[in-house]
Subunit: 207 residues, 2 copies
DNA sequence: CAACAAGTAAACTAAACAGTTTACATGGGG
DNA sequence: CCCCATGTAAACTGTTTAGTTTACTTGTTG
């Protein structure tokens, strides 16, 4: 039992990394049922037994990977409302952060695959449910704005859902269904227009 | 070659119907890769050769079915703007029609599966792209409202996308990802609030 | 009713798959 | 320096799959 510090290359748990990387790619490209352990093995440049030493079976490998990717992305959008500063530019900033995530090729591939698998695998749906609390960031932001008097009397959950909805309607949804990539310019316009709508409804007096 | 009129039971193209029904169920339950032709055969109470007489292969059967279901649903939301009548109740009506579709169990199952398959099958993405023009209904409605002076100066596409986005953010998206069913009461509240927001932004003077 | 299109059951092929086993290699810590 | 965690290659099991073939039956139409 080695007691290596995490920063080190940990000998040949590099293997684990190779497996995980290969599995991510394969699952993203072919979904769960469409991916074979043999292909993962080959892509990872690793023996099949090694794969089964690290992960009990295909299902376990799949779940480990979903967990991992969600972890990686849940750290992306982190902003909170700063009292005193005007609301509009802060909303724009928040929208841009979300936009950046939605423009990530790999994130979108993951989401598309995961959606398709929630049907086959109810446990995955539960996992996604828990992780989907990234939306909490938005909710907390709106609560902060309300408490500071910038958006008096609103329901933070409702406003954050509407704001996210406006952005996703044009930046996320079309991308998921039709593989329409979105350029930075369009994304900026979407964010601006979404902020405009939210302000008109929930902070009409400002400005 | 029989020349039977469509209304008739067309002898044993009943078989075709059985195959299609079974395939719809299996594909919705297990996705493309997860579905076997044998299971379709069995569920259809039909011989395997019969399946292959009607559809060249699994892929062809899958595409025929996607086509079919989209056809079936593209007729659901059909409303156009009526000049003279006030805008708000008409928007509510439009929102309710969309809501009804989103509350359909079978439609949502299809969408979830289809999303997962768009990755594996680019041709499917193209097909969904074409079909997604159901959104045209919304766009035309908004254009009608603009031309009648109810929402002056708007971009119909933008408004329709925002309206749809607001509804889907709470009625569609959570359902897709987390299998959260939505009751009629909640749906009505969502429609009302979405209309409110759209009015605040794009028709503020009215009322 | 004869003939043919369409259906049936069941066995078959060839490939892919998840997961196991075997016999062997290696390299780093005690 | 020796030992054992861990890794490797490759063959193997048992199952599942898409798609074919064969020998036979049925129902509709001319």
């Amino acid at each position: 039992m080695s007691v290596l510090k995490p920063a080190q290359l940990s000998v040949s748990a590099t293997k684990r990394r190779q497996i995980v990387d290969a599995a991510i790619a394969e699952f993203q490209e072919n979904g769960f049922a469409g991916t074979s352990m043999d292909r993962i093995t080959e892509r990872a440049c690793v023996s099949k037994r090694t794969v089964y030493n690290h992960f009990e079976n295909k299902e376990a490998l799949f779940h480990a990977i979903i967990e991992l990717i969600f972890e990686q992305f849940s750290e992306t959008v982190t902003l909170s409302y700063i009292p005193g500063k005007p609301l509009r530019p802060q909303l724009v900033e928040l929208g841009r952060a979300e936009g950046k995530l939605l423009m990530s090729e790999s994130f979108m591939r993951l989401v598309r695959m995961a959606m398709g698998e929630t049907m086959r695998d109810p446990a995955l749906a539960v996992k996604m449910n828990e992780r989907a609390e990234a939306c909490t960031v938005f909710s907390c932001f709106m609560a902060g704005a309300r408490d500071a008097g910038a958006m008096p009397g609103i329901d933070p959950a409702e406003v954050s859902e509407q704001f996210l909805g406006l952005i996703k309607a044009r930046a996320f949804w079309p991308y998921v269904l039709r593989s329409n990539a979105i350029d930075a310019e369009t994304m900026e316009a979407i964010v601006q227009s979404s902020v405009e709508t939210i302000m008109a409804r929930f902070a009409p007096d400002t400005e």
